[in-house]
């Protein structure tokens, strides 16, 4: 190849590299800082193709989106000395890239700073309220308060904390066991109560049935005695009316009837005197 051709290629290559070095792309989700010898020259907030001085300036790309931050679970003591394990997370945004770059330099450091900030404020806020407040309408308010407190300090890093949320606020394992026991005994009580109520109702129903039976039968017996008495009375009157017509004859007649019924059986032995009325013809009259 001719020397002119090689020179042309070299020039083209150098020009190309220079051109590439003068441009940089900031995407929709990013923001950038143009840094010259450690000094921030420019903040780029809008996406697109951007220009810079080649080789002299370098570009720092920072995220513009809402970033997530997980805070490791942490044991916190509420004001009533109850311990709880709080697992929180935060969402934050770099709003002042320059400030951010100067104070914390990169996301890594920012995350560490934020974590300790959030932890400290979690303790502060939750340590001032009773445990039951976390389990109430107040929870949202508490989370807001933590966010606001974190925010005042995070502003210094060019960060806006969009949200701090308690993901979990649970009791430590030992306390959970105590709760399980309480739940179990409560349920046992409840079950016992249901069974006892069942027995109560059953007794009531049975006793009521027994009472009704006793009343029914005694009423029937009363009625029966009344009827029997009426029958006896009427019969007595009928007898009296009839027998009263001739009491002497009744006595005789009824005695005869009674003899017939009461005596006259095989196993009766009668000792008779020949002088008796019945045998008066047996012995000659003296």
């Amino acid at each position: 190849m001719k020397p002119g051709g090689i020179a042309l290629i070299v020039v083209l290559v150098v020009a190309g590299i220079t051109a590439f070095n003068s441009f940089f792309v900031v995407s929709e989700a990013e923001q950038a800082l143009v840094v010259q010898f450690g000094n921030v020259k420019e903040q780029v907030r809008e996406p697109g193709l951007k220009l810079k001085i080649p080789f002299v300036q370098e570009v720092h790309i920072l995220d513009k989106r809402i970033l997530d931050l997980d805070v490791p679970a942490e044991e916190v003591i509420a004001s009533d000395q109850k311990r709880l394990v709080v697992d929180a997370f935060a969402r934050f945004k770099i709003i002042e890239p320059k400030q951010f770059y100067i104070t914390v330099f990169n996301e890594e450091v920012a995350r560490q700073r934020l974590q300790s900030l959030i932890n400290a404020n979690l303790r502060r806020v939750l340590g001032n309220v009773e445990f039951s407040a976390v389990l109430s309408e107040q929870r949202a308010v508490l989370m807001q308060r933590i966010r606001d407190l974190v925010n005042t300090e995070a502003q210094g890093f060019g960060i806006n904390v969009v949200d701090v949320r308690i993901r979990r606020a649970d009791l430590p394992e030992e306390n959970s066991q105590a709760i399980y026991q309480r739940m179990e005994t409560e349920r046992k009580q409840e079950a016992q109560q249901y069974r006892a109520q069942g027995a109560e109702e059953a007794q009531r129903i049975r006793a009521n049935a027994d009472r009704q039976r006793t009343v029914l039968l005694s009423e029937a017996r009363r009625q029966a005695q009344i009827l029997r008495g009426e029958g006896d009375a009427q019969a007595t009157k009928i007898y009296a009316d009839a027998y009263g017509l001739d009491p002497q004859f009744f006595e005789f007649y009824r005695s005869m009837e009674a003899y017939r019924q009461a005596l006259g059986k095989q196993d009766t032995t009668m000792v008779l005197s020949p002088k008796s009325e019945f045998l008066k013809f047996l012995a000659p009259v003296q």
């Binding site: 790309i61 997530d68 079950a191 009426e230 032995t269």
Partner: protein
């Protein structure tokens, strides 16, 4: 190189989709020339050389490069076209064209797809059913209720992309955010509710309130996400105490059955007693009728006899007496003793002997 600088040395792209340098490589002019020449020589046996060959190669490469701008947007997607990273256009499903890399790139979020996030368990498949291989995750599903009890809740959140731009450019980890926010929201809602209510009547309230809270929080992030539904998959007492809870159910059943048994007893006893009472009364009625009838019968017999007696008193009296004595004495052992014959001595009579004789007959 400045082109790679835009990633700032991170290995994740700004959208978390891996390195940015997929697609055609940035044209390196030196390489391009060399490669073109090599290929040209290879094809034409090195006979031509010179400018014409290079021109053809460059033209083919440029054509290929321009052609690489065609892309397809599937029916559940939306094309988001970025020119040098700036969002310029949103395209509909079908075949579309964008200026080739590195001028324009396209992102294709699935906007109509409904995504699911499981909390408290992991389902086996990606289906919308809760797979049989569901694995419980107690650390996610156990939570405190408002009355300081513990409840085990598994739920699924269904969501879709509401605004592709917001979804892509506003938030770092949309799926992770949905999950974290869902967990937090559910705990917040359950934390205000007593256990019994959460287990029974409060179910639909929990779903609705949680859904709203998740939506509200995600909106505050500008996440571009629409929460379709929060679906409670299982609301149970914790496994450690579930037996006690089941026993309560059993106790309720026991209560009911004790009551039913007693009712059955009552239903058996009372009609029987009624029957018994009726029997007693009927017997008494019968007795009454019997006694009266007997009396009337006997009385009228007596009257009849009396009437005849009055007609001939002595004869009748004697006749009745003799007839009766005849009947009475007929079947009897009789001893006739004359006291004059014994001479006043009390006669010995073996009454037991006589009795035995009488019994022996």
């Amino acid at each position: 190189m400045p082109w790679q600088n835009q990633n700032g040395g991170k290995d994740r792209g700004p959208w978390g989709q891996g390195p940015q340098n997929r697609g055609p490589q940035p044209p390196n002019i030196e390489d391009l020339f060399k490669r073109g020449q090599d290929r040209f020589r290879g094809t034409f046996g090195g006979g031509f050389g010179g400018k014409r060959g290079i021109t053809v190669v460059v033209a083919v490469l440029v054509a290929l490069w321009l052609f690489s701008g065609f892309y397809r947007v599937e029916s559940d997607q939306q094309g988001v076209v970025l020119r040098f990273g700036k969002w310029t256009e949103t395209t509909a499903p079908g075949l579309n064209y964008h200026l080739p890399y590195p001028i324009e790139t396209v992102l294709k979020p699935r906007v109509t797809r409904i995504n699911r996030v499981d909390v408290g368990f992991r389902s086996g498949g990606n289906d919308f059913t809760r797979g049989s291989a569901a694995r419980d995750l107690p650390e996610e599903s156990l939570m405190l209720t408002g009355d300081e009890n513990i409840i085990d809740i598994d739920f699924t959140v269904f969501w879709e992309i509401k605004d592709a731009g917001m979804f892509l450019f506003n938030i770092q980890d949309p799926e992770g955010s949905v999950k974290a926010v869902s967990e937090s929201a559910m705990r917040e809602v359950i934390g205000k509710m007593p256990l019994q209510m959460a287990l029974t009547a409060g179910r639909s309230d929990v779903q609705e309130e949680t859904k709203q809270l998740i939506q509200q929080t995600l909106d505050s992030y500008g996440a571009g996400i629409l929460v379709r539904e929060v679906n409670l998959q299982g609301v149970d007492p914790p496994r450690a105490v579930i037996d006690a809870f089941r026993d309560v159910q059993a106790a309720r059943a026991d209560q009911e059955s004790a009551k039913n048994q007693a009712e059955a007893y009552a239903n058996d006893v009372i009609p029987k007693a009624r029957g018994e009472a009726a029997r007693i009364e009927q017997e008494a009625e019968a007795y009454k009728a019997q006694v009266i009838n007997d009396a009337e019968g006997e009385a009228s017999r007596f009257r009849a006899v009396l009437k005849e007696y009055e007609a001939a008193k002595d004869v009748t009296r004697t006749r009745i007496y003799l007839e009766t004595m005849q009947d009475v004495l007929q079947g009897m052992d009789k001893v006739i003793m004359d006291e004059n014959a014994t001479g006043g001595v009390v006669p010995y009579m073996a009454l037991p002997e006589l009795k035995k004789q009488g019994g022996g007959q």
